[in-house]
Symmetry: C2
Subunit: 416 residues, 2 copies
DNA sequence: CCACTAAGTTGACTCATCCAACAAAGTAGG
DNA sequence: CCTACTTTGTTGGATGAGTCAACTTAGTGG
């Protein structure tokens, strides 16, 4: 990790320049030198190399007040991209982001993934990814990597899905299986972790070094970013917050235990709360978003039962979140999944409980916001995770001048 | 943080060598080169500089099997030391550790700190620290730093105790106040955080990059080390685990809320559980350790009430720990404070609940162990925190040859 | 006594950053 | 319109860290 070489030092400084551009936006080479603390000459040299690798470009001849105006250096859109994939219960998705953070492409296909099974899922994901990779290569862009979000317990280093209850998967070597289809080894991670990365990189909480992301789906998952990096834990299973035992007198959970947080804030609790057994919301022909639209409509119309249920869920959400806030002390808690869709009615009671229960003084512990990435957070996070490899080691991106001469004969290897 | 200079690179490599020696024990320069991936020549040069700074020394002429035997390089005891301080309700303590991790000195004085108040505490801590600093200077040792552990909410960067309920402190600028007495600015941190550092550096869980430390005192505190470094959170208030609301039908907590974890596993719960109103354990003349000895004696003797209470507490401990384990996924959970003293009776039921509730597959999530540092963990952790400055930047330690010539006239500045 | 092996040192070499001087490209004011 | 001023970006030389390869040193084993 720590550079030990001069070349490692160079790597770190290249990465540092990219980081500065990501955080502070376009700047002249002199400005970069000031921001990084490096010498002007070094800054120029670094920018030259990054330009050669297609990561930055010289933009508009900047707005100067005095003296010679500089040329702005900006992250170059379109040339170096990361691909994010997502599997979920009833859909799969793909997203392409470039280093500038712009969404190049996003596609989502509805499919019953449980019925397809792991084999079918690998086929589907492979197709989605291969199409994007081919399109990017045709565009002369370079693919920095691919990363897949899966709702379940993931062994990140091995690229294996250990357990994904909602998909019915167990011990699926997803990275290896996908690698056969797309020609490069993808990363695999939990969907909440990927979503947290997306929020950290580009969402409402962009740049916040300490944030907590909560997904509201069938289960409730958590992704934790602390000190600027994703918490992984000893075996990669952090953020399993759905089964916190919050009420010994509560209901039985799908996991077999009593009073798990999920039983009061999960999707099942929502449906149970707002709708009786023969309510149209439960129509199996409806998908998640249609149901949520229906519920939101009732809430907007002032339906008492709906509002009461949402209030109850909001409070329970606040109680559970307070535990996590006291343990992790994030600056922001981002609510994703269905929480974000119905957030308007959940946020009030949730904030009330949260603020009442957080021990840390000041308002710092109480910032609770809704994700603006909606259900796309996980895919986008995957793309960010894939891009992270280039952003921390820009030398992995191929040189566009030298390579053409020196590495041209080896092109086949890099495309394999 | 990241080195950007060659001199930053040098710093990082010096630190890397120290790290290797700390983790892998004494090695020859050639061995260090292999372990670090650096060149033999570089390794020699780095070791020479570290020797000059008093951080390492050449030890025994190593045990070789073939070829020329190397001289072992080892962390040098006694010359570069960190000082840890601790304030608690009924005692204050000081500990001195050297870079080799050996406890040079440990002293603990019983005192009613609540009665003394912040001013008295500053006096007492100042005396304890100054005595050690003077002794070390007389020994020609160099003090790398001082760090104080306080049971409460600490603003680490400002060195201010925001709130320490058990001490009755509020907004005490401890770092600044102590700096006046001892001539250097000490670090200040939460006692659980410091204890976690101690366990990470030298306790039962030494070297584990992901661990959770739980203190059993009047309150219950948590220190989290994840990915090899201490979790601090946005404002430095991580690990406030005592007030997790685990039972809506539970007892009222000192914080005013219902069913906090502390109400079932804190020291008050222990006393309530094992002893009636007029039980000798409640004799106000007894201090904590005497009470615990008494309780342990009864448990050993098979007293039914005591055993039942401990079993109940153990279970509650496991339930609460399971939440933290699911969120943080540590490899080890270390129990400190009174949990460690009575651990023999708590561990069984706690492990049972923990293993039943942890979602992560395999035995990884279930390792629950007792601290072997006992009530000294926090002070020791302070000393480790102080040493951390030198270990991450060895160039802060004064050169012993060049300094004698070049910096001799400036000696006064460095001792001020 | 002589191969053999591995440790540690030395001096030449590479390469990244720094430094200082300089050329370039604008603005402000007479 | 021209000149002083300010800031950008480049250039060539200096510093210094790490690498490499050859060499010396110091043991073991036959």
């Amino acid at each position: 990790m720590e550079p030990k070489d001069q070349i490692g030092l160079r790597r770190a400084n290249l990465a540092h320049v990219l980081e500065v551009l990501r955080v502070h936006g376009p700047h002249s080479r002199a400005g970069i030198a000031r921001l990084t603390g490096l010498n002007k000459a070094t800054s120029s040299s670094l920018v030259a190399e990054l330009t050669d690798r297609g990561l930055v470009r010289l933009g508009s001849p900047a707005t100067g007040q005095f003296g010679r105006p500089g040329h702005l250096v900006e992250l170059r859109p379109g040339t170096v991209c990361g691909i994010g994939l997502e599997v979920n219960v009833d859909y799969a998705a793909v997203a392409v982001l470039d280093v500038a953070g712009t969404l190049v492409r996003h596609r989502r296909v509805a499919r019953d993934l449980v019925a397809l099974g792991p084999d079918g899922a690998v086929d589907l994901l492979g197709e989605l990814a291969s199409a994007e990779i081919a399109a990017l290569r045709a565009d002369d862009a370079w693919v920095a990597g691919v990363s897949v979000a899966v709702p379940g317990l993931i062994d990140v280093s091995a690229g294996v899905v250990r357990l994904a209850p909602n998909l019915g998967w167990r011990e699926v070597p997803l990275a290896a299986r996908l690698a056969e289809r797309i020609g490069l080894v993808p990363g695999v991670d939990n969907d909440a972790n990927h979503s947290a990365l997306a929020e950290h990189a580009a969402g409402v909480a962009a740049g916040t070094p300490d944030l907590l992301y909560l997904t509201g789906e069938v289960g409730v998952g958590g992704g934790v970013i602390s000190g600027g990096s994703l918490l992984r834990g000893a075996t990669g299973f952090t953020g399993e917050v759905g089964h916190m035992p919050l009420d010994p007198a509560g209901e039985r959970c799908g996991c077999g235990r009593i009073g798990c947080w999920e039983t009061s804030v999960g999707l099942a609790a929502l449906l149970r709360g707002v709708a009786g057994d023969d309510d149209p919301v439960r129509d199996p022909a409806l998908d998640l978003e249609q149901r949520l639209t229906l519920i939101a409509g009732r809430a907007r119309a002032g339906d008492a039962r709906t509002l009461a249920a949402l209030h109850r869920i909001g409070s329970a959400l606040g109680v559970g979140a307070s535990i996590l806030v006291n343990v992790l002390n994030p600056a922001v808690v981002v609510l994703g999944g269905y929480f974000a869709v119905l957030g308007r009615w959940l946020l009030g009671p949730a904030r009330e409980e949260l603020c009442a229960r957080v021990l840390a003084p000041g308002p710092a512990g109480c910032e609770l916001v809704l994700s603006d990435l909606g259900f796309t957070a996980a895919v986008r996070g995957g793309a960010h995770a894939a891009l992270d490899a280039v952003l921390t080691d820009p030398t992995t991106a191929p040189s566009r001048s030298a390579t053409a001469v020196r590495q041209a004969p080896e092109q086949h290897r890099s495309t394999s």
